[in-house]
Amino acid sequence: MPECTNPLWPCAMTGAAAALAGFDGITVVIHGSSGCYYYPATLLHAPLQGTFIMEEEVVFGSEKRLLEVIGEVSTPGTRVAVVTTCVPSVIGEDVRGMLASHDVILVDSPGISGDFESGYHKALGSLAPRVDDQAPGINIDGVCLFDPFSAGNLRELTRLVNNAGLEGSTVLCADTLDSVWHSSPLTIGTNSDLASGVGRMLGGTLGFHDLRDTFEKIGDREDRANIGPVLQEIAHKEEHVIQACDKYLRRFDPPRAVVFGWASYAGFAASALKTYLDADIACVGTRNPVLPNVPFRSEQVNSLSRVRELVSECRPDLVIGSSFERPVKPDAAFVGLTPPLRGKVRLSSPPLAGTEGTLCFMEGVLNACMDRNRNIPTGA
């Protein structure tokens, strides 16, 4: 990445920590300085360990310190996973060699090696997930501690899978370590930017259209499935959204929106706004590479300066994004979609996936737009 003003997305080390820390049975050790440790520790709200290396270890090597910490945090029944940061990588330490005689998972994903997603995928790959053809149920994919919707997504998809007469299988990445090696052959996704590649991906669950398609595929492949109740719920809940949006459009013009976030989430949000509110999608800015064939103006946006330029150019009255985007156009309606979502109290765990996910998202959009419209004088 070239020089960048106010970078908006975490590094590979954070992505690796987010993937590993989601699993019970793994103790994650950040091998680096306290500065590198504290960010994922506060962001992920998960128990992480650190080696907190100092100048002494940079000069004389960090092996002693790393092994000391591994010895201290190792407990029966858990495996230690070491995530490397930039400094051990730059000084060329042979961390793999240091750990050769230890039963430790090593993920070499320093910040300089890439972005959040690359670290996440590398960490997940280091666990060598395996499909067990006899494992029942459906894997739920793309559940990540960094994602403010992950807990809600997991709860919602578990509910829908259960309503279809099935059970959830491995949750990637929020499960036991053992479950990673006994995944079901079938998988449904929440956030496709974090797709694991484990099992046969039947489809996504963002938006009613994809959700319907995915559950129809579940019905085709699982004899035990009874997807009727889920399809009925989808039709019923989508009608709720249509009615609420239709009522909104009786009084107000469609919003002109800019959307910033993970490519999959941003695509879902833009499509929902277009479908139900006939919104003008002025621009979609993705934190990670843009997905192919997106029917909106899209570009990868990783700096706050570019966000400001796009917002200034597009003049939206609705901004969808993170707490970084929220203050950029304070007179616009804002709905949170992208981490971090800070500066507001969040106690509940709303989903973005499933039927409830679309309901929550559109509910947020309608309320934010109506609140904004009430504050704008008529004719303004």
Partner: protein
């Protein structure tokens, strides 16, 4: 785990940024991987939101990747500095990271190039440069060196406020209230939402009040540069607040007897609001040495005839001691909530 305190005291870079980003209109250039910049920008942005601020810190990363690690990152720093200058900032701060220090880039040379705006290098190096507190002091000293000595005008500087502290504005308001009853006014908040022009008058103050012992190095630096004496901490607790009034009064050569008397009355009224807590049994939760906060908490408990015992209701003790009488009041509201829960 074996305790080595300095391992856990955070990054020099974060400490320095908590100061440099509080200079309005400035850009802080971080010479290192963009991840370092993101970590810190995310923290500072969150803090700004929690302080109801609208100004977002301007942080520009040189975005070091593996290529620069191998072949050197000075060209990337040069591009970042050119980019920062194009934003027409009030000044540019240049901060290195442990990565830049490890590969040995010459940050100082890039800072000596004339770019039409002041370019101020701040010695940081992530954990190689020290700890969070060291970064704060380094930044304060670097910024202080941009100001020239001046004739004292009887005002007071506030030095080294904890800009990441959730209640930083409330603590400042309490300090100003106490200074006001001494008839003293504030010259500048060094450094909290000030411009380079504000910094230029730093030397005018007759007395400095440091946030806490952590910025004594900066206090000493200011004393050497401007000859300004200092008080080493904000007021904390009941007797501590009265003692603060006396000491600052003496330092500024203004009478303090009436101010102490008035503040005693304020404290008595405040304690009377919490008379219902008298006799309650409490355990001090989070009381850790070497912070003076536990001692303050015990003093407050004694003033209200509360019993401190391990089996009592666990009440929170803040990491930093409560500032002034208003800080004690807020702490007592939290205690009452716990006791009545």
């Amino acid at each position: 785990m074996r305790l080595n305190t300095s391992r856990f005291e955070g990054c020099t870079l974060t400490g320095a940024l908590s100061v440099t980003t509080a200079v309005s209109g400035s850009v802080s250039v971080i010479h290192g991987p963009s991840g370092c910049a993101h970590h810190n920008f995310s923290l500072l942005h969150t803090t700004a939101l929690e302080h109801d601020g609208t100004d977002v810190p301007q942080i520009l990363s040189s975005g070091l990747l593996e290529n620069e690690i191998i072949f050197g990152g000075e060209a990337a720093l040069e591009r970042a500095l050119a980019g920062a200058a194009s934003l027409e900032p009030s000044c540019i701060f240049v901060l290195s990271t442990c990565i830049a220090e490890t590969i040995g880039d010459d940050v100082g040379a890039a800072c000596r190039v004339d770019r039409g705006v002041p370019v101020i290098p701040v010695p940081t190096g992530g954990f190689l440069g020290g700890v969070f507190e060291k970064g704060v002091n380094n930044a304060l000293c670097a910024i202080a060196d941009t100001a020239a000595p001046a004739t004292s005008d009887g005002t007071v500087n506030i030095i080294g406020e904890k800009n990441l502290e959730y209640e930083v504005e409330e603590n400042h308001a309490e300090l100003v209230r106490l200074l006001d009853i001494l008839g003293l006014s504030v010259n500048i908040r060094f450094v909290h939402n000030v411009s380079p022009d504000d910094v230029a008058v730093l030397g005018r103050a007759s007395f400095n009040i440091l946030r806490d012992q952590g910025v004594v190095a900066a206090g000493d630096h200011l004393k050497a540069r401007f000859g300004t004496a200092y008080h080493p901490s904000f007021p904390s607790g009941l007797s501590g607040t009265l003692r603060f009034i006396r000491k600052v009064g003496a330092g500024c050569r203004v009478p303090s007897r009436a101010a102490v008397h008035d503040e005693q009355a304020v404290q008595e009224d405040m304690l009377a609001e919490f008379s219902d807590l008298s006799g309650a049994s409490i355990a001090l939760n989070g009381a850790r040495a070497p912070s003076p906060a536990p001692a303050v908490a015990r003093e407050v408990a004694a003033a209200l005839a509360m019993k401190v015992s391990a089996g009592g209701c666990r009440v929170p003790v803040p990491l930093s001691p409560p500032v002034g009488t208003a800080g004690v009041r807020r702490m007592l509201h939290r205690w009452r909530r716990m006791i009545n829960a």
